[in-house]
Amino acid sequence: MGKKKSAALVVGAGISGIRAALDLAETGCGVTLIERSGHTGGILSQLDYQFPSNHCGMCKMLPVVDRDAGSQFCLRKGVVHENIEILLATELISLEGEAGNFTATLSQNPGPVDPGRCIGCGRCVEVCPVEKPDQFNAGLSLQKAIYLPVPHAIPNTYMIDLSVCTQCNECGKICPTGAISLLEEKRKDFRILVVDDELIVRDSIKLWLADEGFSVDMADSGPKALELLSKGAYHLMLLDIKMPGMDGIKVLKKARKDFPELCVILMTAYATIETAVEAMKIGALDYLVKPFEPEAMIPRVIKLYQELELKNQLKIEVGAVILCGGTSYFDPGSGKNTFGYGINPNVLTSLEFERLLSGTGPQQDLNSSSNQRYFIRPSDGKPIKKVAWLQCVGSRNLQTEADFCSSVCCMHAIKEALLAKEKFCAPTGEEIEAAIFYSDMRTFGKSFQQYKDQAETDHGVRFERGLVHSLFPDKLSKDIITRWVDIQGKSHEETFDLAILSVGQRPALKTAELSKMLGISVNKWGFCETEPHSLTKTNKPGIFIGGSFGGLKDIADSNISAGAAALEASRTIHISDKGPTIIPKKLPLTRNILRELPRIQVVICTCSETFVKADDLSDIIEHLESYPEVEKVAVLDRVCTSLGLDELIEITDKNQPNRILIGACMPCVYSWKPREIGHKLRLDPALIEVIDIYSRVMDLPDNSAHETRIIMENSLKMGIARLRRIDPDPVKGVKIRQKALIVGGGIAGVTAALAIADHGFQVDLVEQKEKLGGNLNWLLRTVEGFATRPLLDEIMAKVVKHPCIITHNSSRIVSSHGQVGNFTSIIEDMDAGVQTIKHGVTILATGGTEAPVTSYNYGSSKYIITQKELEQKLAGNSSDDAVDPNRMETIIMIQCVGSREKPRNYCSRICCQASLKHALLLKDNNPAINIFIFYRDIMTYGFAEQYYTRARKAGIVFIPYDIDNKPQVKVCDDGVSVFAFEPIVGRQVKITADLLVLAGGIIPTLGQELASIFGISLDENQFFKEAESKFRPLDSIKEGVFGCGLSLGPRSIPESIASAKAAAQRALRILSHEEMPSGKITAKIHQSLCVLCEKCITACPYGARLLDHDLGKILINPIMCQGCGTCATVCPSSASFLAGYQDQQMFDIIDAAMEGIFN
């Protein structure tokens, strides 16, 4: 497969970027994934545990069908997919063109270490003399100037922090593969012009720079400088501001105009700093204040030189751009810093605490030892017993200009508290005490509420409703003293060992520059702004946003919005005729070797003779060649280079082996060469094995030739043992019916239908009601004030006339069976009768509805209504039934009616926003109206917080109530009276009102019956149960069935739309291919041994097996099978086995590993 033009550019390789890139790549789109830092994974590379499982789970994002197209190892270690090109240390610097046909200019800054040569041996770290705070561990530990950006990436290339590097080149000298070049020898070519009217200044600068090896010229005046500039190409100009005649500013202006590439550093005396700052706006890069020492100037020049010299630009053509830049954190040390962050070492941020908990964190030695499970304070080593979390640091705070909720910190704090309790104990053996200080506990997501309840009741995490304004250290012990007032007004003082600040989010670094360059708008807090009703569309067509770049999302929501952005990008690419095309998956053409005996070509790469000399290999070669199936052993130098690869192809072309074993260094194993080689040789890539023979040799002392030989030889012999017995059967494909069935015609269903149909695939849209539109038929507007009617009209117009969409109104699903790619469903249409539909995927968009209300005397008075009824009554114009705000004096709203308590123990997420929307509307129409809202926690997550603030400012009174002490409602003739306890005033209050509005929450309409028809499961609240709540939020465990919209859980209109698009993209991964290859490693059956006990069917976690009664056989769907091997372990007669891991093969491998060690 040749190199493709990229169809899409994904900027940022955090969790959203990876999701968007994988979602596109799996449909056959070529993706370029760029990342500014030196590793993929974004913030999640620093966060080891995710709730609710308190594990990682990132690997669940890996491709499930056509697994072999990508890597199948821990996703935190790296992303590999045949359609994704990853460029690290790369930034987007300009974008030209229009949607479908962009030209992106990327700037790559790979640094002085060559990733192709670095083998990660770490010898450079031992010799590096410079230490700096470790960014990965949030500055809690130290690392060298040459460092690994993350400890776990594969391959892991070292990087040099040029801002602290002293250029001593010790690392360059010791590097065994010559991967480090600090570029000193090339400094001659870097030309610098020094412009100053004083000879002594010129001379000394020239001397200093010449000592460093640069070429320096001098000019004594402005005109002279310009003359020299026009004659020869200079890279850098050091320019004095105050000069007689033509001053520095004039020279700068002229130079910027004529030589835009030239870098200028100004030299200025103290008096003219302001001028220098002004000059930087014109285009100077930096300024130096005279007089300066060489130590002040040289590092800056060198850093600039490194950046210029190492940066290379490349242009790529893409159809669409997805921005997944993530967010950054609020710096609690900025501003008033009332918590003493950075001053008191026992005040940490949530990220720092997460690093402390981590097995790769600054306390890793401590964490890994099993006998001591204390958690010690980094500042003084005191074992920690009590920890406090302070919420809303830098969020929901008008003083730090953050009138938004950061959405994730509440759950993050609970998770950290539980992790601390689970992993550590106090020295006395007691549990660690954890207290969380909060103002609203925002448990608005799926399963959040249960998690919080468990933390509180089962694990004893204390939740204190109260804001701690400042922290004081105890003078002696440096413990943290907190003061707060509880809801009753009682003051408390308590001492903690450690205080954790749940810092809020801020726009990602350089968001302003990027958005300005791209011409996309940002909101008032600097986050990228999206279009109404969309979480992904920017104001520029063809540029989309995934994840929290558009503001404040957790992992699941980031994944969903990234999937939606991928869909939008895919649609843009698909409908543009100019743009790059999508290449559908084809099974590789391979030579038939079924009838051939194994002939293994062994290749040993010497890796520039770093570890062994080629001559020393003769023993090994001789030994290996004694194996009958080993054709020949070849020794190559650096097989990873294109030269080495050509040599390899040449050898194998001549010998025509049917299996190839390559022994090389670790980076080579993961760099995806087998596919390239396989394509060239028409050999199944699965028959080419690359093994790491050097990692274990690296740590051996120098004089251990014998051990080196044994290790290398055994590694190779294990490879031979595996290849000898490998099943040469080529992978099977499954034909895909490129058609989708979508159940439910609400906004999610129609959005998904349109998304798939726009890609040219047939869609059957089944709706049980006579009209499409679902809840949007009665919803009028969103809390942002956007009308929903135009949205519905616009999308309906498209659906109705779309040639690929067949709608079945007033229809229901009778049955459905089959597996991914081949489903058969029967639908019963009220008009057309029964129809059979064959389709490849199913999307369930069955929606939800307002939960029936039974409490608060609902139904006994016309003055008690639900929020849904209020929305409808506000629309009614003249009827008696309508609510006229001008005839109302007082309205009461009660939140969480039936929600967040058993049996519906989940937050419905949107009721708070709905109530605020109505309250603000009523208040707008009649400012004199009194509105009281009874609430438990106001769940205005993200930017919806501003409506909460607005409501408060508008004079709406919010009264918190306790679940054990709910408001009491009494019905009167002309209204209702509500009796409730006002905890702040501390007494019972009675409010009489003209209207009581109850927020009833959302229940799904999916139902057990439909779920079992499609073979999916429901969660405890009857919502669609996803394969994994964070990393696969839209898939069911049964591949090919996806959920979206309210069927997944309560969500707003934009969130429903995003989930529908993301689900459509998940479906398109399958629909885009006529045939889907299975994974190489899948379960198979010796049918003759099978007794049809069906144990494997129940054991299979992926539902890939079924019993065919007609054939009397167990059948395995090879693309659903994930090769986990569970079936092989439960099979009583060893009939079920895993191809690629057969018993005899494994025994051979073990034998090979042990050989030479015991005898």
């Binding site: 705070n397 003083q399 109260g466 804001l467 304004h469 007004g489 004079g955 005033v985 019972q988």
Partner: protein, 188 residues
């Protein structure tokens, strides 16, 4: 104890309305109460007082001495996460109490007027004169006795100056300033 929330009829100007406006964005986080240096002496915590203002419980608000005890240290204003002008709100309540001549606030109002009268005349507080003024205006012969022990202690430490028989004339007086302020207030 139960109290009915009165729905204020829109046409009657509520004296608390301007204060209510200042406080509406309050989220009842309690930072003000936790920060208040005088809260130990207050019958209602600041947060509760704001709540009462918002809920229109005028009688309860003015029955409380909380606002009179505010020493304008501005801690609460500085710290309020909503950035509300809480010290100003306290001052506004003092002014309303004085303007509306609310009986329950008489003592506090008189205290402040006496204090300011002394400042107006001398440009600083003359403690003895201020206390005398206050006791006379209180029209309560028993009142001074309550302060006797405190007064003695202050006197012994030289915290209370014995008034000179001849008042110094001249730059100390702030009468002109007070006049101008009163004029401006009338204009606005």
């Amino acid at each position: 104890m139960e109290s009915a929330i009165k729905q204020k009829p829109a046409f009657l100007p509520d004296p608390l309305a301007p204060v209510c406006k200042m406080l509406q964005a309050c989220i009842q986080c309690g930072t003000c109460t936790a920060s208040c240096v005088n809260s130990f002496a207050m019958d209602q915590t600041p947060r509760r007082l704001w709540r009462m203002v918002i809920m229109g419980q005028k009688d309860e608000v003015f029955r409380s001495k909380t606002f009179a005890l505010c020493s304008s240290c501005y801690y609460c204003t500085l710290r309020c996460p909503r950035g509300l002008p809480l010290t100003e709100a306290m001052a506004a309540l003092k002014q309303i109490a004085a303007k509306e001549k609310i009986a329950s606030c008489k003592s506090g109002t008189l205290f402040y007027t006496s204090f300011l009268e002394s400042v107006r005349c001398h440009g600083r507080v003359s403690e003895m004169e201020f206390m005398t003024h206050y006791f006379i205006r209180m029209k309560n012969p028993v009142a001074p006795f309550k302060y006797t022990s405190l007064g003695m202690r202050l006197l012994s430490k030289g915290k209370i100056a014995i008034p000179l028989t001849k008042k110094k004339k001249g730059p100390g007086s702030l009468k002109a300033l007070f006049r101008k302020v009163a004029e401006l207030e009338q204009l606005s």
